[in-house]
Amino acid sequence: MKLKRFLLRYYPPGIILEYEQGGVLKTKSIDLLDLSPTTNIDQVVEEITQKEPLITPSKVEQVKKLVARLQEKIGQKEDHQFYLFKVLRAHILPLTNVAFNKSGSSFITGSYDRTCKVWDTSSGEEIHTLDGHRNVVYAISFNNPYGDKIVTGSFDKTCRIWSSESGKCFHVYKGHTAEIVCVSFNPQSTLIATGSMDTSCRIWDVEKGTDIANLTGHTGEIISLSFSSTGSELITASFDHTVSLWDVRSHKRIHTLVGHKAEISSAQFNWDCSLIATGSMDGTCKLWDRASGRCTATLKAHADEILDVGFDCTGQRILTASADNTACCYNALTNQQISKFLGHEGEISKITFNPQGTLVMTASADKTARLWDPETGECKQVLEGHTDEIFSCAFNYEGTTIITGSKDNTCRVWR
């Protein structure tokens, strides 16, 4: 084994080792999820060298510098005030979902008008219209971090993969017998998973355009799915009140998470995939141990349905958004509530941390998106201007740009 070079990852903090083994270039990551601006660097590096044979004594000084760089980045005090940068009359009918590429230089919008559009963030110009679906384009995603491909899932029961550079359609994936409502690339960008109202989840080959597996077992519609950060596992959330954990390679179901008393609205892994958080129409959020499939906690802070859940990038805090117009932040270790976000005058349908974990964004039926301090619950900013409810919102990787998509047919860019 020979170490070739180091790569830094800011969110979540980590150092990626690129090394050669038997003539093949490989990578492995050292996660520093607990790193804080006050952590003792020497101690951290000592722990790393003990565990990691690739870090030889001659590399120690270099690793110390890298850890210091990460610390500096984490310690940066962000007090960015966002302003409305552009209003894009994006579509002729309401928008569904929105998504950024990794750098935030371009983003995509899906719509009821059957198209997905690719936009240049800084100029606000439309780069491509991805035209071909015969019904609502509901679920969309870039293959981040690469960003050269886009996947779209439609109510026309098909999924398409496109070049983000040329706008050309590479493949049309047919097989589902009802609307496709969630899509995702695996982290390696070799596979696509799609979830459908037909209760099945399918896995497809990106390169060949072929069907690899049909994951069946749910008795209700699948409305959310996500890959683990290594891509070896997949979770699917269903209206049948359960969440399933699948092995991506063998296509076998590893666990079924049973316990919610109503439909699931969202399911997410934390970064190291030790935990799964699920939100349900039964008004609770549950945490599950990924290895055993057992429920470890039930968070009951809401008076109505939970519509979205999310972790911060290190997996240390959890967010819940509810139809009761409030949202909450919890410590993922102790399950104690850290803060509650009060102020929205309508259902909160989306919630997310910025990649830095210093801000929380919520999107609501009250036509606003709001930014909150996760530690105090204080509302830092109200993003006003949409004339109808906001369906979707996203941060870019740097956390410096926001897009919001609304039922009012427009998309707004905030910087």
Binding site: I92, D113, E179, M197, I223, F239
Partner: protein
């Protein structure tokens, strides 16, 4: 509402839920009618850019009514909503005589749509509260409704503003769907 509730409305529950499509020219009064069906306030209604969905309970049925904007530039998108429709409501502004021909043409095109084949149609001759409005019988004759033989149909005089005729229309819908389910 959020995207999630769109998915919940999409769920098929054929025994109890009916998917109803509400169409017609712009300014026919579709959104006003929808709000009256859902017993909501109708004082502030603006042209519909996209769509509105409301669920109405009636006689053991859950009526999921999809109101799609009627402006000319949006009409090509009506077809996105045709699939799985149980019943079509077509709204006509009975006082807008100048556009009877246009509304007739749109209706004829809808009735020729393959995805709407055999779907019962209820035509609301709306705005009967206006003095200049045409009678339902006049409209039926003008649109040659008697030539419709491939489906059940009904024309109902109504005024969404006064509420007159709405109840009768809903009764016809549930009766028709009841017969079909049997």
């Amino acid at each position: 509402m959020g995207l999630l509730s769109l998915l919940r409305k999409l769920r098929s529950n054929p025994d109890l839920e009916l998917r109803i499509l509400l169409l017609g020219l712009d300014n026919a009064g579709k959104t006003t009618l929808l709000k009256v069906l859902a017993s909501e306030d109708i004082t502030h209604i603006t042209p519909t850019q996209g769509f509105n969905i409301k669920s109405v309970q009636s006689k053991g049925f859950k009526l999921n009514v999809w109101d799609i904007g009627g402006q000319r530039k949006i009409r090509p998108y009506w077809k996105n909503y045709f699939e799985n429709t149980d019943l079509l409501i077509y709204v006509i502004d009975s006082a807008d005589r100048k556009r009877f021909e246009e509304t007739g043409e749109e209706l004829t095109e809808l009735l020729e749509e393959e995805k709407l084949a055999g779907v019962p149609v209820l035509i609301f001759a709306n705005k009967q509260d206006l003095l200049t409005s045409a009678k339902a019988s006049e409209i039926a004759e003008g649109l040659n409704l008697n030539s419709i033989r491939d489906r059940e149909w009904q024309i109902q005089a109504c005024s969404a503003v006064s509420g007159e005729g709405i109840k009768e229309g809903v009764e016809w819908m549930t009766k028709t769907c009841n017969n079909r389910k049997k």
